[in-house]
Subunit: 384 residues, 2 copies
């Protein structure tokens, strides 16, 4: 053999407390679910698991739509699916931009030959519905893309009423809820959202790699009647048949990942047992408690308006003289806690701290606040 | 809440012996690996796991190429990645067609605006290199797509020398090894293959959802200099940076799935420990033993030429009077063994039986042969 077998070195690895903007640690029952029996792609147990997942997705997105399923890929595959299925080449996508994920939407759309319009607000704020309406009225785009929570800036966008505004001008509303779903109220139908995707590794405490998506009746019409081709892998018309969205097909499209199907089902089951209201309340309460603890430290919020702050990810500003990367490194090495520095517009300007999913507890908030206090004291001392 | 939480019913489910053309059962250590610690996407442990996977992929594909990584998606995502990165709209793809997967390649290519040429042989045979050369010489396509093993027909294609033939006419050679890799000899570099993909849920005994790909230096040049855009999710130029293929980048592209990264690493580790030679030998030996057991039953091979038969998936013809679906159902209900009926060109014409990965043992071959004998006896009796 010209290429010999490699040697795999086993290294000790204790899972850290994952308090970056994602991924979160796994829920214990979700970790267990990963090892459940492998099913054959055409058996009843598999179909039941898919049905359970679809019921769970309808609940967590708060939608009666039947066109709900999960994409076999990361959150970015959800983003690409939503865009490519609803906006064709030479059609127009308005991208409401305040962070890094909107830049990704821009990149994805450009590659698809879509005309893009970028409307930007300062990264530490959010959009008013009035300014969004002016843009939609002006360009009358095929669709508007906006993130609900933005993990690069720590902001949450008010979406209530935005669907009606978009529909007045014949525009579809596409929403990213990767870092908000389960942690912050979201109502797909009531808010008139036409397409939404999320990911499992944030407030759902699941493994990345499988991404729920949902489409409104308006979006479904567009998908059924569209003239443009999509990628085979991301084609919702084919995926809807595999997921039996219309109750009459179980076609094979691609081989799904049994551990991820079981894990997503378990994430949705846990959230259904806790209920959305209680999960939102828990996230809000933990976040308030964490903010209170922060008041004893010389830390400020990057986002000035409390109403714009995202419950699941806080962006925090340190006093002059601290290096953000040093603090991140200190928490990792001394406390085995992962937090992140800024990204994109917030790089070098903030810490990004996520408390979500199974980690949204007083104990975790205390551990984080204690570790931050220790870091600020130790790192100042060492630089004296 | 307008959408109430659904009720998830738990059902007993004993994992069957999975002897269809895929998925295979998980290796015990692979199942364990699924629950290993979740890593943060920018930590050393994650980078080490990716490095291990790349070393393992080089070994199992037998290539010195540096452009090797895994796509976060099913085998079909590997197929789409290979095609879209190497063949642009209006360029030509010759598809050597003998089963269902070539039809998928055709569908994927058509959607991308690629000119396709379908060259077909009867489904129960394979191509001679001479006839393939005539097609390549005639059309001088940008690339040729061919499957190594075909799980819909149970055939294995001779590829030795095919790369040289393609390169003579400026054509790239793209190969699907989803159902062959690890079970049948494959030599990417020696055979002049320019792009190859596989999947984990066949002879690697892993979970679906993460798909190794590799590109030759010739393919790499094409990718670096291509004029056409690809999907963001499948763009090898970006993925190569995330996977550190050139040793100088660890860019974030998308969030990978920790359980699948650990599982793929473990699949590759197990194959490296056993060695490819021993794994190929084991698959060949089990297959010979299973065929010997079949000789005592009134069963024939769909593929007449023994040299064309795929070691990992056998396509078997039953005597007149048997219904293929009844036999499949009997094995599932009576023996908890999954086998498949025909698919595409072999639908209604054969059983498809996969003995691969951890299931490639005398014990499994015996269980299968016993179950088949029982089915043939019982089902005949009941129809007398």
């Amino acid at each position: 053999m010209s290429i010999p077998p490699p040697n795999f070195v086993e290294r000790e690895f204790k899972e850290p407390l994952l308090c970056g903007p994602g991924p979160c640690n796994l829920g214990p029952s979700v970790r267990e679910a990963l090892t459940k029996p492998v099913f054959s792609p055409l058996c009843e147990q598999f179909f039941s698991a898919l049905d359970d997942i679809r019921a769970g997705i309808k609940y967590v997105f708060q939608t009666k739509s039947n066109l709900v399923l999960a994409i076999s890929g990361s959150g970015h595959s959800g983003m690409e699916t939503v865009i490519t299925n609803l906006v064709g080449p030479k059609e127009t996508l308005l991208i409401a931009t305040r962070g890094i994920w909107d830049e990704r939407a821009y990149d994805i759309a450009k590659r698809l030959g879509i005309k893009t319009i970028v409307y930007r607000v300062p990264y530490n704020t959010t959009f008013t519905l009035e300014e969004l309406e002016r843009q939609v009225e002006l360009y009358r785009p095929t669709a508007m893309f906006i993130t609900h929570g933005d993990s690069s800036t720590g902001t949450v966008q008010n979406l209530e009423g935005l669907g009606d505004i978009c529909h007045k001008y014949g525009t579809l509303l596409l929403v990213d809820t990767v870092v908000s779903l389960g942690g912050v109220p979201f109502f797909m139908d009531a808010w008139g959202v036409d397409a939404v995707y999320t990911s499992t590794q944030k407030a759902l405490s699941g493994p990345a790699g499988i991404s729920p998506v949902a489409f409104s009746a308006r979006a479904e019409q567009k998908i059924k009647n569209r003239k443009h081709e999509t990628s085979f892998y991301f084609d919702i018309n084919l995926l809807a048949q595999q997921w039996n969205c219309y109750g009459n097909t179980r076609s094979y499209h691609h081989t799904m990942s049994p551990p991820l199907v079981w894990a997503l089902r378990e994430c949705l089951r846990q959230l259904s047992i806790e209920t959305l209201e209680k999960s939102w309340e828990r996230h809000a309460k933990t976040s308030r408690y964490f903010y209170e603890r922060l008041q004893r430290l010389p830390i400020e919020f990057l986002v000035p308006n409390p109403e714009h702050r995202l419950t699941t990810v806080a962006t925090l500003v340190l006093p002059n003289g601290y290096n953000y990367n040093d603090v991140v490194k200190y928490l990792r090495e001394k406390h085995n806690i992962i937090i992140f520095p800024g990204l994109g517009p917030t790089a070098g300007k903030s810490l990004r701290i996520g408390i979500m999913g199974v980690n949204s507890t007083v104990a975790v908030a205390d551990a984080l606040a204690d570790a931050l206090a220790d870091a600020l004291q130790t790192l100042v001392k060492s630089s004296l």
